[in-house]
């Protein structure tokens, strides 16, 4: 959301925010008026301003997740006017500026909605389902220690670039929030694709895709209907090509798991 022109004309908005006291509490939309907003403040700064006003009035401030505020940590997670991370392309909520809205706008802010992302409070959701998917296989079992010599394992540049496209995933969950079916396929596909494209990831490639998909299913995410809302909402614009790659990997891994011979040795060995 790079500014086309740095406007200084202050704006007033109506903020319609989802307020929910706790995981089990019923939630509802509450309207707040906010006047005299600098259009060059970020969306999260606007929430800070609104929260300052609420605190002064003795009301409970709006809980929202945020950390780095520069689009690299994946913590901020609002659905703004129905679109995860709000207007704009390839940006997280923290990179949305108030100049993206017009004076007098009603801005609806909701949490990411998915059964697998239970609401903790207001706009904050629990995305630890992603952590559990990662723990199922989103890593390389490697000898820890000092960094290996950089040229010991050659990686072709096109592969490295494509792997990096997937590795830009910040695990924010916007793909789940944007998907009509609350599917986590883009997230899982990015993790599977990232490691599957690199030589270091080959040894555990089949095991990884089977375990991560199985955990994804168990966490209660939906299924892909190939509508590509996920990649459109992704702050890193990760392509849904990775979902096709994961589907192919999963099919191959399933077939290999069914027919690949296994060692008869029962444990031990060097």
């Amino acid at each position: 959301m790079v500014a086309s022109a740095n406007s200084t004309q202050s704006i007033s908005i109506t903020l319609r925010v989802w307020r929910q006291a706790g995981p089990k509490a019923p939630g509802k939309f509450v309207d707040y008026q906010s006047a005299n907003l600098n259009p060059n403040m970020s969306f999260l700064e606007m929430l800070d301003v609104v929260n300052d006003e609420l605190t002064l009035k003795g009301e409970e401030p709006i809980a929202f997740a945020h950390d780095c505020r520069e689009g690299i940590c994946g913590t901020c997670s609002c659905t703004i006017n129905g679109k995860p991370h709000g207007p704009g392309k390839g940006v997280a909520t923290c990179q949305v500026y108030m100049r993206a809205f017009r004076d007098g706008d009603v801005i609806t802010v909701e949490p990411f909605r998915a059964e697998a992302f239970p609401i903790i409070k207001d706009l904050v959701v629990d995305r630890s389902a992603f952590d559990r998917i990662q723990q199922a296989g989103g890593f390389i079992t490697a000898r820890a220690g000092s960094a290996p010599e950089a040229n010991a394992l050659p990686v072709p540049k096109p592969d490295a670039d494509l792997a990096m496209d997937a590795a830009t995933c910040i695990g924010c969950g916007a793909c789940v929030a944007a998907c009509k079916n609350a599917s986590a396929m883009l997230f899982v596909a990015a993790k599977v694709g990232h490691l599957g494209l690199l030589p270091q990831g080959q040894a555990e490639r089949d095991k990884r895709v089977l375990a991560m998909v199985s955990t994804m299913d168990a966490e209660g995410f939906g299924n892909c209907t190939n509508q590509y809302e996920c990649s459109a909402a992704c702050p890193k614009l990760i392509s849904h090509d990775f979902i096709a790659r994961m589907n192919r990997d999963y099919l191959g891994a399933t077939v290999r798991a069914a027919f690949k011979p296994e060692s008869m040795a029962s444990g031990g060995g060097a």
Binding site: G82, E110, N223, N226, Y228, N247, Y250, T254
Partner: protein
């Protein structure tokens, strides 16, 4: 999980089942359309073709059972996936927003349902004779072949053979404007279903990529348009009076 368990039990496995059964069904509807377009030729063609299919005997049943299984798996997977999808969203968004999901993709379950209703009607209409029984092939005078009907150069139905008059059944069946319009609407919705389905099956099988996605989308659109026009032609021609019922055709020839 074993192979069958993975295909039927996992999210991606079910998508693959949707795609594979989709390919089978697309293959069928295309073959079905190409066969049916023989209605525009001499009645010997469609009637000979229908008799040839019937004479396949056990092979016909292999194909029928295969198609029934494909339809059942397709519907089962769609239902299971949709139920999971609805559960996965939990509470609905206050503001519903679509970034780029196409109309065809969002209407899949509705177009699919209409096609299912159409399929049942179509079977009752032309296969079992449950509806419009008066013009069902069994109630019509049989057709006497005036020439051989050949498949791949082999004359499979000989001239002089008497066969059920499928050609007349089709033309008479579409004399009913409501039925003809229902067919046109249903194949239109099926074409819309295929518009998303074709693109989608390549993605589910892991064959689509950004490099040729535009070509794929356009090819799917052209395919669906041709499929719709081909299907529109048959009831459309009857409605427009270009395919007269047999009695009129006979008198016109004299």
């Amino acid at each position: 999980m074993n192979l069958v368990g993975s295909l039927f039990g996992s999210s991606i496995g079910r998508k693959i089942l949707m795609a594979v059964t989709g390919v089978i069904l697309i293959g069928f509807v295309v073959g079905h359309l190409v066969g049916n377009l023989q209605v525009f030729q001499h009645p010997d063609k469609l009637n000979g073709y229908a008799q040839f299919l019937h004479n396949l005997g056990p092979l016909l049943w292999v194909a029928r059972i295969g198609l029934i299984v494909a339809v059942l798996v397709h519907i089962w997977a769609a239902t299971a996936l949709t139920l999971e999808n609805n559960r996965a969203r939990g509470s609905a968004y206050g503001v519903k927003h679509t970034i780029r999901a196409t109309l065809a993709s969002r209407a899949m379950r509705w177009t699919g349902l209409v096609v299912l209703v159409f399929l049942l009607y179509h079977l009752a209409h032309f296969t079992f004779g449950g509806v419009q029984a008066a013009t069902f092939k069994a109630s019509l005078a049989p057709h006497t072949m005036t020439a051989d009907y050949s498949v791949a150069g082999f004359p499979v139905i000989k001239a002089g053979a008497t066969v059920p008059d499928v050609h007349a059944m089709v033309v008479l069946g579409f004399q009913n404007t409501a039925v003809a319009l229902f067919y046109i609407i249903a194949v239109g919705l099926l074409s819309l279903h295929l518009l998303h389905g074709i693109e989608s099956l390549f993605q589910s099988l892991g064959l689509r990529s950004e490099k040729w996605s535009v070509l794929l989308r356009r090819a799917a659109a052209v395919f669906c348009l041709l499929y719709f026009l081909g299907n529109l032609a048959i009831p459309g021609a009857v409605l427009a009076g270009k395919l007269p019922p047999p009695a009129k055709a006979a008198s016109a020839q004299r």
